[in-house]
């Protein structure tokens, strides 16, 4: 096992800059998820680590070995592809052992290794089948087995679950997590699914236009997004953005918004007195208040001491089982609130909501960056 260091990695295709200097430092045994929309450069970065793409500028190191110009097979990495990329003409057993065979491992040793991995992934009964005779989930397992059998320093996953149906995806997600715990290996995982990222990662690197927006633990990314892009990308439903202006109040600061309640727009002052951010320099200036749906909930539910309550009309409700999403109308825009399912019977009408302002994220509307 080894650490992975990416220093100022740049990738250019002609004049197009796909990666604009990425710095990531990965501890031995850490699970990093590269999260971003398609075209953000996350797969390019993964391919650069794998050696399938050249590094235009910068350094990539596994342990303390610079691998910029090392052939993929000598990098001590293994990769799981989105399409699994199983060799259709070979049996499952041959698929798994191919990498060992190419490295000149004797046949007897190969067989032992294949059997061990097959048992670990509970597919020892499938070894003589061809990939075309397997289900999607089984193919996924073979692809994992092919990576596992070589015991590489670093595992690379390129959206390995996106071809599976929802139920299988959950199963395999847990399996990957379990595998990581068991092997304690360094893993880099590319996905565009923010839930996958939040559940799997030790740290998430969010990419946009070839730049890392934020590199932090899932909790930090979720609770303290550095900008509005990250805040909008992570979380489902996404964070509510409410535009307002900072005003000075008796106790500190506030932000006034208009809330649709009892059929009319009522002014409400969101209390920012206890918010950790120093707002003295922002009085009179516009800000964006970011509130996650769960920070707006039924009154009496929240325990935060910065909770304030006010009435709001419910436009629509969406039951998700565990809790119910209510669509409210603040500042003339839709705002999502999450209430516990006991309140699911409320379809329309006015209800008292509690807002936990200590969990609010404040952004500058121009730079879209987090304040404080």
């Amino acid at each position: 096992m080894a650490s992975l260091t990416i220093k100022n990695a740049v990738k250019r295709y002609g004049s197009v800059e796909v990666l604009k200097g990425v710095d990531i430092d990965l501890q031995d045994g850490e699970f990093l998820v590269l999260l971003g929309a398609s075209g953000c450069g996350k797969s390019t970065l993964l391919n650069m680590i794998a050696g399938l793409e050249t590094v235009t500028e910068g350094e990539i190191m596994i342990g303390d070995r610079l691998i910029n110009d090392v052939h993929p097979k000598d990098r001590d990495i293994a990769m799981v592809f989105q399409s699994y990329a199983l060799y259709p003409n070979m049996t499952v057993g041959r698929n798994i052992s191919f990498g060992l065979e190419m490295r000149g491992v004797p046949k007897a040793e190969r067989e032992v290794a294949v059997l061990e991995v097959a048992k670990m992934l509970q597919m020892d009964h499938l070894l003589d089948r061809k990939p075309s005779q397997l289900s999607g989930g089984q193919r996924q397992r073979v692809a994992m087995g092919r990576a596992l059998v070589r015991r590489p320093e670093v595992f690379l996953f390129d959206e390995p679950l996106s071809n599976l149906d929802a139920k299988l995806r959950l199963e395999m997600r847990t399996e990957i997590k379990r595998l990581h715990k068991r092997l304690n290996a360094t893993m880099v995982y590319v996905t565009h699914d923010q839930i996958e990222a939040l559940t799997l990662a030790d740290r998430i690197a969010i990419l946009k236009d070839g730049e890392v927006q934020q590199l932090a633990s899932p909790a930090e990314i979720y609770d303290q997004p550095v900008n509005m892009f990250v805040a909008g990308l992570v979380g489902s439903p996404p964070m509510n953005f409410i535009s307002s202006t900072v005003t000075r109040t008796d106790t500190g600061y506030g932000a006034e918004i208009s809330v649709r309640a009892n059929g009319g727009d009522q002014p409400v002052l969101l209390d920012l007195s206890d918010h950790p951010t120093d707002l003295s320099g922002h009085v009179g200036r516009e800000i964006v208040v970011g509130l996650r749906p769960e920070a707006i909930t039924q009154s009496g539910h929240s325990t935060g001491n910065t909770t304030q309550s006010f009435a709001s009309d419910i436009d629509v409700t969406e039951a998700t089982g565990a809790d119910t999403l209510c669509v409210l109308n603040w500042n003339g825009k839709e705002v999502m609130a999450r209430v516990s399912s006991g309140y699911a019977q409320i379809i329309e009408g006015t209800m008292e909501f509690a807002v936990d302002m200590s969990r609010a994220s404040l952004f500058d509307p121009e730079t879209e960056m987090r304040l404080g």
Binding site: A50, G51, L52, P72, K73, I77, A78, M79, F81, Q82, S83, A85, Y87, P88, N89, F98, G99, M102, R103, R146
Partner: protein, 295 residues
């Protein structure tokens, strides 16, 4: 219910008429196309008197294989009277290596063009594709000079080289279009597994290629076996392929024109390509369409 019973037969009746019309047209055209083949086979089995006396379309009185035997081993081609046999083997010796070589090289080129995309790969492909449209006649003179310089004029090897080079444009096109449909991730996975350019080709790409290999082999075999121009241009006498020899056989007349021998010679000459089509024909269509359909 009653509405249905009156409606359905009416539709069936017109459908039956349409069917009958369709069959009639198909049968007429089938006869139209089969007639020449019938005449050729029928004539080759007749004696000369029978040909002169009877109708072109009448069945032979008895199955007489004299003309076939004569065409194969006795007919005069130019001044030698050994039949088509030596030329037949010339063609075999030319076609098999040329087909193998052009197919293999086409596969390798197609693989390199699709799975190891280098700068200008598409340009190279466009240029190779251009080769498909160069008429045979254009290359005769430079090719003759080349063969002369190498020193393999008037040999089977010369023809093997000519056909391999000329066939490369087509085989590359076939394999390139087939390999485009094979996911690149396979090659990436194999690269990480430690396989190199040729190992990936041999262990992963070639085992996936049988459908397109069949297409390439049929196409190339037909082209090379049926070629007249290169054979006539670059060889003389005993080194000629069967296609040229057959032409000479038909043109060599000593007194009476032996139509039955000419027909038998034509059938012998065409037999290998017909054989290849019958054996591998159904894979041919499948292989041609395999490229366009994913998976």
């Amino acid at each position: 219910m009653s509405e249905q019973t009156t409606f359905v037969p009416a539709q069936t009746r017109s459908a039956v008429w349409m069917r009958l019309l369709l069959w009639a047209v198909l049968i007429v055209f089938a006869i139209w196309f089969l007639l020449p083949a019938y005449v050729v086979v029928g004539t080759s089995l007749k004696e000369l008197e029978e040909i002169r006396g009877g109708s072109l379309l009448s069945l032979p009185h008895e199955l007489n294989f004299w003309a076939w035997k004569h065409a194969w081993s006795e007919a005069c081609i130019g001044v030698t009277c050994n039949g088509l046999e030596p030329y037949f083997w010339n063609s075999v010796k030319m076609a098999i290596p040329a087909v193998t070589l052009s197919t293999l090289l086409g596969a390798l080129t197609g693989y390199a063009l699709t799975k190891w995309q280098f700068k200008g790969a598409n340009m190279v492909f466009a240029l190779i594709l251009f080769g498909c449209f160069v008429p045979f006649q254009v290359v005769i003179l430079p090719m003759a000079q080349t063969l002369g310089i190498i020193g393999i004029t008037n040999t089977v090897y010369g023809l093997i080289l000519v056909h391999s080079v000329y066939g490369l444009a087509f085989t590359t096109l076939f394999f390139r279009n087939y390999y485009v449909t094979i996911p690149d991730e396979l090659v990436r996975a194999a690269t990480i597994d430690g396989a190199g350019f040729f190992t990936i080709f041999r262990r992963i790409i070639l085992p996936l290629s049988p459908p397109i290999i069949v297409v390439s082999v049929i196409w190339q075999f037909t082209q090379i076996w049926n070629d007249f121009l290169f054979g006539a241009s670059f060889t003389t006498g005993g080194a000629q392929p069967i296609m040229v020899a057959m032409n000479n056989l038909v043109n060599t007349t000593t007194g009476v024109k032996q139509y039955n021998v000419d027909m038998a010679a034509a059938l012998i000459t065409a037999a290998p390509t017909i054989f290849v089509y019958i054996v591998a024909g159904r894979y041919f269509v499948r292989g041609l369409t395999a490229g366009s359909v994913k998976g």
